[in-house]
Symmetry: C2
Subunit: 761 residues, 2 copies
C-alpha cells in the first residue's frame, strides 16, 4: 500500500479496508465515483443543471456499500471455473489482487489460476462516457481457453417510460444500444451504449438473463453457462450491457479489449462518439493528456520533505482533490463558499482555473452582496457567509499572478440585471457583511455561516455570529490591502477602520473569560459560552480570532484548544457535544453527538487551526495537528479514509458508536486548506503583491525540505533547513528577507533558508 | 402448485417462476408488496399523501428483481452450516421449499438438514407494522443447537439527515429502534423499530457488520461467525434490524418467535404498538379477523364450476385483488377511473365498501363535471373520461342494495366550494360529457380517455374520441334508467335522446366500412381507420359499440375481432402496432410495439370483449377469451403471471423480445371486469333495480354450475345446467324469468336454470 516514487499512483494491496476506497474520474460534465473494484455510479451533470445517471443508483455520498455494477468475469471454458477478476466475491486466494489508483484512472489487477487480468477504467476527456480497457494474459505454461465477460449495470432504466425503451444490438453501432424514445424526458440523452473494439462472441441486455431472475451478481447464471444469449430486451426494470469474448491464449500471450460506455442524444451520436473513443491511439492520447495535466500541476510546486505520503499529497494528490472541488463543487452541488475556497488553493498551481472559478461563483452573488449557498441544485436557505470568501480567493489569484486585471472582469449579479466588475462584487460583499450588524455590533447570523448546521440561530434577523464577524474582519483587511495596491488609500482606510471596529466589538461583546463565544441567537442566547451546559467551547471562533488578528493573546487561546479539544484523531469542533435540541440553534443541535459540526473532528476546522498555529509560530502544534488528520494517523488506523485523499471529518469521541470513523471522502474544503496550511504556512511559501515571500514555520521533524516552485514564471529552488543559526541565502548571497527576487520568465533561483533550531517564524 | 380446497391459500411449490410472484399485504395506510420469499418493500401512505418507506427501495411496480430485504437465516452451531430458509440462495436440495400465499399473509416453509422453518409474514390490521412469525422445528432424531437470524433491511435510512439518526437497542422497547430526530422531516414517523417476543441472544444494527462491508446478503459475515455484535450505529447508509436466537431443540421440538417491525412517531408510540401487536393472542386475532373478512366476501357469492382455479378466483381471490384496487387504487396512485371501476365490482360482495369508495372518488370531480385523473400523487393532465365511470359504479351499488339513499349523500366538488349530492355529481358528469362535442358531434378527446397513452390527440380541444362517446352513451342510458326509477321521466327521456343522438353521430361519422374508428385527433387525422398505415383496427371501440348499443350488427364486429385481433395469449388492443411516432397522438405511438396500449394483449380490453360476447350470446368466444387471459393459459405457460391474480397485460406478438410476458401484477382494473364478466355475464347474475335477474351465457364447457349468492339479504342457491330443453324452476315452481323472488332477510331460494344445449342468452 503505497505511492509510487513519482506520485503518479497509489497501489491498494489490502482490498478490504474498513470502507470502500474511492477514486473520482471526471470531465466537465461527466463523473464517476468508483471504489477499489471499479464499481460505483457515473453520471452526467451539465452546468445547466441537467442530470442523467449513466451507471447505477445512489447519491454522490453513498459510502460503506459496494455497488456491483461493473464486473469483469473470467471463465475457464475447459474447467467451467469462473471468477470476478475485479471483485473476487468469494475471497479466493488470488495470487495478485490490487488496485492502482491514478489521477483519472483506476486499474484493478488480479492474477488467479495463472490468468492475469487488468481492468483499467477512466472517463473520456470531453465526453459523457466511460473507457474500459481489459487486458487478459495467460501467465501459465499451457494454452488456455478463457472467456471474458465484461458487465455493466445501467442506470438508464431509471428513466420514466420503460415501455418506450429498448436495449438491443445495433449493427450500425456494432454494440449494445439502449434507446428511450418517450416523447418527454428530462434529459438530453435518449441513448446509452456500450461498444467494444473487438466483435464479441455473445452479449446480454438484461440482468434477468445475465444474473438470472433469482441469481446473484456474484454467480451470474449466464457466466456459469458460458454463453450469453445475444438477445435484446424492452419494458425492463434492470437492463445491462454484458459482452462475451472467447480468448485462446498461448502461454505468455496477452490480449487487450477496449470498451466504451456512454450517453448520447441519438444513435448516430453514439456511433460517432464510440468511434472517436475507440480509434487507435485515443486511449493513449487521453492517458498522455492526463499525465501532462498532472505534471503541470506538480511542476508549479514540488516538495520533498522526506515523508513520501506528505510529499505525494502536497506535490500531487491534494492538488487533484482540490481540482475536483474547483470543477464539481461538492459533487452533490456547487457551493459558493466551497468553490471559492478551492479557488484560493488552486491559485498557486493553476491560477487560470482559479480565476475562471471565481467568475463562475460570482454570478451567484445577489445584488445585495450576499450569495446563494449552492447551485445545481440551488439551496435557498439564507446563509450569510458567501461574501466572506470572495476576497480570499480574488487576492490569492492576484498575489499569485501579479495581474490585477481580474478585478476588471464583468460578472452579472444573481437574479439581477446589474452587472459589476469583480471589484464591484468585492465591495458589495463587504458592504453586505459590514452594514448588517446586530445589537452587539457583530455580523448578523441569518440562516447560517461556515457552520451550515447552525441554521436556525439568526433567522429572525437578530442573531449574531462571532465567526462571521471574524471572517469579515479578515476580508475587510484583505480589501484594504488590495485598495492600497490600487492607490485608493481613503477607501482602504475605511475598510481598515471597519475591521478595527468589529474587532473591538468582538473583544468587548463576544469574549467570555478565556474564549470567544460562538454567537448570540435570535433570543439573545449565548452559544459557546461558559454558561452553556453543552457546546461551550468552539474551535473555529478561537482559530479565526488568531487568523483575523482579533485575539489579544492568541497563544492562550491556542493553549486552551490544546487542553480542551485535542483527541488522538484531531481537534473536535466543539465541546461537549450539543445535546439540547433547539430549532432556534438549528440542525447542529439535533445531530448525533460527535457527528459533523456537532463535535466531530471536522478536518476543515483542523486546517484553520494549523494556520493559526503557524501564525503564532507554534510549529510543533501545527505539525501534530496535521499528522493527526492526515490519512496515516497511527492512532486512528481504522478510520477508513483513503491514503490518497483527505476526509472532511472523523467522528468525534462523543459519537456513541463510531468514534474515529471517516465517513466522508474526497469532497471537502479540507483539501484546499490543508494544502495551503502546509505550503503557505508550515513551509511558508507566501505569495504577496510584491512577490513570493518565504516565512516557514518548520517543525522539528523536518530538518531539511527541498522545494521547487514556479511563481510568476520564475523557478525557485528552495532548501529549508533547521540548524543552529538562522540565515537566508538567495542565489548565493546572504539576504535579510522581503520578497524573493524575480527575473524574466524562466529565471531560476536558488534559495537556502536555515530557520534555526529554535521557534521559527 | 394449487389452491387449497377452501380457496384460502395457494401453494407455490416451484419457487422459481419466470418472474417473482407477489402477494400484497395491506391495511388502510400501510402496505407490503412481497414476493414468494417474503422479500419486497413495505411503506406507509396516508390519505393525506404522506409517504414513508419502511423496508426497502423501489417503486410499486418493480418487477423481475428480488430484493433480499427480509431474510431468515438458520445456522447449525455445531457444524457451522447456515442457509437462508426463506431464500435458499445457493439452490440447495431443500426437502421442502414452498410458499403458502394467503389473503393478507404469506408463509414460506422450508425443510433442510432436518430443520423445518416457517416464516409467516403479514401486516398489522390497523397499524403501520409488519408481523413476523418464525417457527423452527427439529424434525430429526437428534437434539440440535440451531441459531435463528431474522434480518430486515430498513429503508428508513433513505430519510435525509442521517447525522441525526441512530439505530440501537432500546431498553424500554426491548428491541431495536431507529430514531431520526432531524428537525424537519417529511414524514410523521421519526421511529422505525423491530421487537421480538423473546429476548434475543444478539442483534445487529447495520449491514456493514451483518453482511460485512464486502460481504453478500447470501453469505452474511455475521451469520457465518455465529454471533451478532449487539452494537448500535449512527450516521449510516444502510441500517438493518437483525436478531439472533440460539435454540436448543430436542427431536420433534419446535419453537415459535414473533417479531413486529413498524413505524412510529415516538419511541413511546413504538413501545405501545409493539406491545399491542406482541400481546398473547394478537396475531391469532388478526388472522381470525382476516379469515372472517374473507368468508364474508366469499359468502356473498360462491361459485362451483368444477374448475378449481376459476372457482377460487371468482369466489375468493379476484374479490381480494379488487379490494386492493378499491382501497389502494393502483397502489402507485389513486385513480378516479380505476377506483370507480373497482367499486362497481366490489358492489356485489361489499356494497358498503363500494359506496364508501364512490364518495371518496367523487370528491375529486371538478365542478365542471370532469375529474382529476389520479390523486396521491395528483396527475393533472386533462383526461376527460372520469365522469363516464360514475354512473356504472353508482347504479351497481343501488341495484345491489335496492337502496337509493346513496344518491342523496353530499360530496364537495374538487377545488370548489360547491357541494353536491351524488346525483348532482352524476348529472354534472353527464353534462360535461354530452355538452362538449366536436366537429363530428362526438365527445372531445382532450388529454385522453380510458387509453391513458393517447394523451396528445385532443389537447387543442378539437380531437374527438369514439370510445368516450360510446362510454357516454352507456352512462347516459344508465342515468336515464335511474331517473325512470326516480319517476323523473322527462329528464330520463332527455338523456335517452342524448344517447340516441350520439349513437347516430357515431354511426354516421365514426364508421369505416367494417369497423368503428378510434377517433379524430386535433388535426382531423383519423385514428384506427383503414387509411392508417398502422393501428387501423382497435379492440375497444368495437366492444364498446356492442356494450353501448351503438353497433348495428354487433356479431359482424365481433367476428372481425376474432379474425384480426386474436392471439394465443388473448386479443390485442390494436393492430398493427403503431410505429409512427406522433406527439399529436401521444405516448401511445412511442411505446415499443406490442407493449401496453400499443398492441399488447391488454386484459382490461379482453374483459370488455367477454362482456360484449355475452351480450351477443357468444358464449364460446367469451369463454375462449377468458381462458386465454387467465393465468393458467396453456398456450402461454411462460408468462410469469401469478396463478392467484390477474395481470393487466401480456406483451403482444409484435413485441420484439418479450411476446407473452406478463409484466404487470395485481394492480389492474382487469380484476373487477373479469369478475363481473364471469359472474354477471357468463353466469348471468344480474342485479337490477327490481331484483336479481338470471341471464346466463353458459359455455359448453360448463355443463353444471352451482352458485350460492346472497343478495338483499336473501340467499339464492342456483344450479345452472345445459341440457336439451331450457327451463327455469324457482323454489320448485317452473317460471318464465323476470327477477328472482325476494323474501324477508334470510329467505333461502332454490333456483334451477337449464339453459338448453343451444346458444344461450
Amino acid at each position: 500500500m503505497n505511492f509510487s516514487n513519482d506520485f503518479s499512483d497509489f497501489t491498494i494491496t489490502d482490498m478490504h479496508p474498513p470502507r470502500p476506497w474511492y477514486n473520482f474520474l471526471w470531465n466537465d460534465s461527466f463523473i464517476a465515483q468508483i471504489d477499489q473494484f471499479g464499481c460505483g455510479k457515473s453520471w452526467y451533470y451539465s452546468p445547466a443543471g441537467v442530470r442523467a445517471n449513466h451507471n447505477v443508483t445512489g447519491t454522490a455520498s453513498d459510502l460503506g456499500t459496494v455497488t456491483d455494477n461493473r464486473l469483469v468475469f473470467l471463465r475457464d471454458s475447459e474447467s467451467g471455473e469462473y471468477w470476478a477478476a475485479n471483485r473476487n466475491f468469494r475471497n479466493e486466494a488470488f495470487d495478485t489482487f490490487q488496485t492502482i489508483v491514478e489521477q483519472g484512472r483506476s486499474r484493478i489487477v488480479s492474477s488467479f489460476h495463472d490468468i492475469t487480468c487488468e481492468f483499467a477504467l477512466s472517463v473520456a476527456e470531453d465526453d459523457p462516457a466511460e473507457c474500459w480497457e481489459i487486458t487478459v494474459k495467460n501467465s501459465g505454461a499451457t494454452p488456455r481457453r478463457i472467456q471474458l465477460f465484461p458487465y455493466a449495470q445501467t442506470a438508464f432504466n431509471q428513466l420514466p417510460h420503460s415501455p418506450c425503451m429498448i436495449n438491443d444490438w445495433d449493427d450500425s453501432l456494432s454494440g449494445l444500444l439502449i434507446q428511450n424514445i418517450a416523447p418527454k424526458l428530462n434529459t438530453p440523452f435518449r441513448c446509452s451504449f456500450m461498444v467494444s473494439n473487438r466483435a464479441p462472441d455473445g452479449w446480454e441486455s438484461t440482468d434477468r438473463r445475465f444474473k438470472g431472475v433469482y441469481g446473484l451478481h456474484s454467480d451470474p447464471a449466464a457466466v456459469q453457462s458460458g454463453q450469453l444469449s445475444s438477445q435484446g430486451t424492452n419494458f425492463e426494470w434492470q437492463m445491462c450491457f454484458a459482452f462475451q469474448f472467447n480468448l485462446d491464449l498461448a502461454p505468455g500471450e496477452e490480449t487487450s479489449i477496449r470498451l466504451v460506455s456512454g450517453l448520447a442524444e441519438t444513435p448516430g451520436a453514439a456511433k460517432v462518439l464510440s468511434e472517436k473513443l475507440l480509434a487507435p491511439g485515443a486511449f493513449e492520447q487521453q492517458n498522455e493528456d492526463k499525465t501532462t495535466a498532472r505534471s503541470k500541476r506538480e511542476d508549479r510546486l514540488r516538495i520533498s520533505i522526506g515523508d513520501i505520503n506528505l510529499d505525494a499529497l502536497t506535490t500531487s494528490w491534494l492538488k487533484h482533490q482540490i481540482s475536483l472541488g474547483r470543477e464539481w463543487g461538492r459533487v452533490y452541488g456547487r457551493g459558493f463558499r466551497d468553490m471559492l475556497q478551492d479557488c484560493a488553493a488552486v491559485a498557486s498551481f493553476n491560477p487560470k482555473a482559479a480565476s475562471d472559478g471565481i467568475l463562475i461563483c460570482l454570478a451567484y452573488q445577489y445584488e445585495d452582496g450576499n450569495s446563494l449557498r449552492q447551485w445545481n441544485p440551488p439551496w435557498t436557505h439564507p446563509y450569510r457567509d458567501g461574501a466572506a470568501w470572495i476576497l480570499p480567493a480574488v487576492t490569492a489569484v492576484i498575489k499569485e499572478t501579479g495581474d490585477f486585471s481580474l478585478l476588471e472582469r464583468d460578472v452579472p449579479f444573481y437574479k439581477s440585471d446589474r452587472i459589476g466588475t469583480v471589484l464591484d462584487h468585492c465591495f458589495q460583499g463587504l458592504e453586505y457583511l459590514t452594514e448588517n450588524l446586530g445589537e452587539h455590533g457583530l455580523c448578523l447570523w441569518g440562516g447560517g455561516d461556515w457552520c451550515d448546521t447552525i441554521d436556525g440561530a439568526g433567522l429572525e434577523g437578530c442573531g449574531e455570529s462571532v465567526w462571521l464577524t471574524e471572517a469579515t474582519i479578515y476580508s475587510a483587511n484583505l480589501l484594504a490591502d488590495l485598495l492600497e495596491q490600487l492607490n485608493r488609500t481613503d477607501e482602504s482606510e475605511t475598510y481598515r477602520a471597519k475591521a478595527c471596529e468589529l474587532k473591538e466589538k468582538l473583544r468587548s461583546q463576544a469574549w467570555d473569560k478565556d474564549r470567544f463565544i460562538c454567537g448570540f441567537n435570535d433570543d439573545g442566547l449565548k452559544l459557546g459560552a461558559h454558561e452553556s451546559a453543552d457546546a461551550n467551547l468552539f474551535l473555529n471562533m478561537q482559530t479565526w480570532a488568531v487568523l483575523s488578528g482579533t485575539a489579544e493573546n492568541g497563544t492562550e487561546l491556542m493553549d486552551l484548544i490544546e487542553r480542551e479539544l485535542a483527541t488522538p484523531a484531531g481537534y473536535i469542533l466543539c465541546k461537549p457535544a450539543c445535546q439540547q435540541k433547539n430549532p432556534r440553534i438549528g440542525m447542529f443541535s439535533y445531530m448525533t453527538p460527535g457527528t459533523c459540526e456537532n463535535a466531530s473532528v471536522y478536518c476543515h476546522g483542523n486546517a484553520f487551526k494549523i494556520v493559526a498555529d503557524c501564525k503564532l509560530g507554534r510549529h510543533e502544534e501545527a505539525y501534530t495537528t496535521l499528522k493527526k488528520i492526515l490519512p496515516g494517523n497511527p492512532c486512528n488506523p481504522g478510520s477508513g479514509v483513503e491514503p490518497y485523499a483527505v476526509t472532511n471529518q472523523y467522528l468525534g469521541p462523543e459519537n456513541p458508536h463510531r468514534a474515529g470513523d471517516a465517513n466522508g471522502t474526497w469532497i471537502t474544503g479540507t483539501a484546499g486548506w490543508i494544502y495551503r496550511a502546509v505550503t503557505e504556512h508550515l513551509l511558508g511559501l507566501q505569495p504577496e503583491y510584491d512577490g513570493l515571500h518565504l516565512r516557514p514555520c518548520l517543525p522539528e521533524a523536518w530538518p531539511e525540505v527541498k522545494i521547487r516552485r514556479i511563481y510568476r514564471d520564475n523557478i525557485y529552488n528552495i532548501v529549508l533547513t533547521r540548524s543552529d543559526t538562522p540565515s537566508l541565502t538567495v542565489n548565493g548571497e546572504e539576504t535579510k528577507g522581503g520578497p524573493l527576487p524575480m527575473g524574466p520568465a524562466g529565471t531560476e533561483h536558488h534559495v537556502l533558508l536555515n530557520c534555526g533550531s529554535g521557534p521559527t517564524n
